[in-house]
Amino acid sequence: MNQSRAVVLAAQVAVGAAFVTIWQTLVSLKILDPFFVSRPSDIAARIAQWSASGTLWAHLATTLEESLLGLLVGAILGVSLGFLLARSPFLARVLDPYIKMLNAVPRVVLAPLFLLWFGLGIWSKVALAVTLVFFVMFFNTYQGVRDASRVLIDNVRMLGATERQLVRHVLVPSALTWIFSSLQTSLGFAMVGAVVGEYLGATRGLGYVIAQAEGTFDTTGVFAGMTVLGIVVVIVSAVVSRFERWLLKWKT
């Protein structure tokens, strides 16, 4: 088990190293033009420079703050509505087409509206993240409550549960397993929402950095921003899956 994990990790590092080496070599051999694709050594240097000057951390903090707020608000709204509709089939049927319609709206077209409504600051980005997180959380909660096993419900009722106890001991935990399993996706979506929002209009954040670099044809800056974003997502995912495993430890 441990050995296979080490093997996987080694292979993962090898894939990354190979990709970077080939990239670097192709640029050095002038097969690829650094104006279009930059080069790994420049990108690393740029990240180091940002990191040293502190700008990286400020932008990163903004993006993470927006993402987490988006996740929080989206989760609260999505879970609440999911619960409400799962417990009220009539309301669920009435609202069904509207929810599908709203979910089909491409979020990018909402960004200018949110900029107009909430301004250039973090809240327009939070709003964009919310529109993405909300639906993931809503669908999972709805499904989780609806899917709560009939036998578990009957058993708990026979053991004397009131409606409220039924919600607390069966429906909420049952939905939570679905919600936690969607935490990874939700967090990814929250970051996408934040970065896209920043990209389309902001004064801070990783999306803003990337947009600025693109505006001056600074491909190194664009790739540096993308790389930072990618690394952050991997780290955050690892933390979330730790957390998830702890919360769902009864699943073993």
């Binding site: 058993n155 708990v156 004397g160 001991h169 009864w250």
Partner: protein, 291 residues
């Protein structure tokens, strides 16, 4: 005194195709307090439907169920129900699952847990109190479910093919433990496994007068005879009826390891099987005709 009276109970359903379907038809049955009644019938004969009506999970279409003399409305608060499928809450530990009924009734946590621990001792799961159901074997989960049911000390225990998913040997052991618990003996007194120290305290703490009424649904006639005082045979569905009722006069406590080969058992089995056999054949013919 009857713990349960089932009076001309019928239950109709609508099939997915929209046709009416009568699962059970005017079933009448009286279950004496403290007796162990097994309801046997071919698959799909409505045994579970009958049990759900008695539990109050399903209202009868006509007829009524009387519990301790009173007509049942809503859930049967004199009964607990052990389901065929696993019904333990997967996110609660074994101890919390056993204590659940007490917790729901508002018992103090410490009290509920210590009583749950006593029951876990009794079913030989003291060492698994902090495990989650997913970490237990099938037999252990059934023992936990038995403790979860019995801890509430309601007068009636309804059981819907509780052991049917287990392998033959585990199943026989669960049957023995069920009888031990029902008779108020500790499961350890059957010398089936090394006894946990706390288990002794339970021995002979309940007299036969304090026994619970058990309604045990199964499709396995052997299991029914081995466990019950009365075996009730239902006809093949739809519109299942009671076709026969046999008294099982085998002495208790019964040694289930040996019982099945005794002449009395074999004789009784032959007589009841003669009736059940026809219903099984009919249900199989119906199943094939539908295909």
């Amino acid at each position: 005194m009857n713990a349960l009276e089932i009076e001309r109970v019928s239950r109709d359903f609508t099939t997915p195709a929209g046709r009416p379907y009568r699962a059970i038809d005017e079933i009448s049955l009286a279950v004496g307090a403290g007796s162990f009644v097994a309801i046997v019938g071919p698959s799909g004969c409505g045994k579970s439907t009958l049990l759900n009506v008695v539990a109050g999970l399903l209202p009868p279409s006509s007829g009524r169920v009387r519990v301790a003399g009173e007509t049942l409305t809503g859930l049967n608060r004199h009964a607990t129900y052990m389901f065929q499928q696993d019904a333990l809450l997967p996110w609660k530990t074994v101890r919390d699952n056993v204590a659940l009924g007490l917790t729901l009734a508002g018992a103090a946590r410490a009290d509920a847990q210590s009583r749950a621990d006593a029951w876990l001792d009794r079913v030989g799961l003291a060492d698994f109190a902090s495990h989650y159901p997913a970490q237990l074997s099938g037999g252990m989960r059934k023992r936990t479910a038995m403790a979860q049911n019995w801890i509430l000390d309601r007068g009636i225990v309804l059981m819907d093919e509780p052991f049917s998913a287990l392998d033959v040997h585990t199943r026989q052991r669960m049957e023995s433990e069920l009888l031990a618990i029902w008779e108020g003996r500790s499961a350890e007194s059957l010398a089936l496994h090394a006894g946990a120290p706390g288990a002794r305290a339970f021995q002979a703490s309940e007299t036969s007068a304090g026994r619970k009424t058990v309604v045990f649904v199964t499709h396995d006639l052997e299991e029914a005879i081995a466990l019950a005082d009365e075996v009730v045979i239902l006809s093949a569905g739809p519109a299942a009826r009671v076709v026969a009722q046999h008294h099982v006069a085998l002495a208790r406590p019964r040694d289930l390891m040996e019982l099945r080969t005794t002449p009395e058992f074999v004789d009784l089995y032959r007589r009841i099987w003669a009736v059940l056999r026809q219903e099984v054949i009919k249900s199989q013919q119906d199943a094939e005709a539908r295909r």
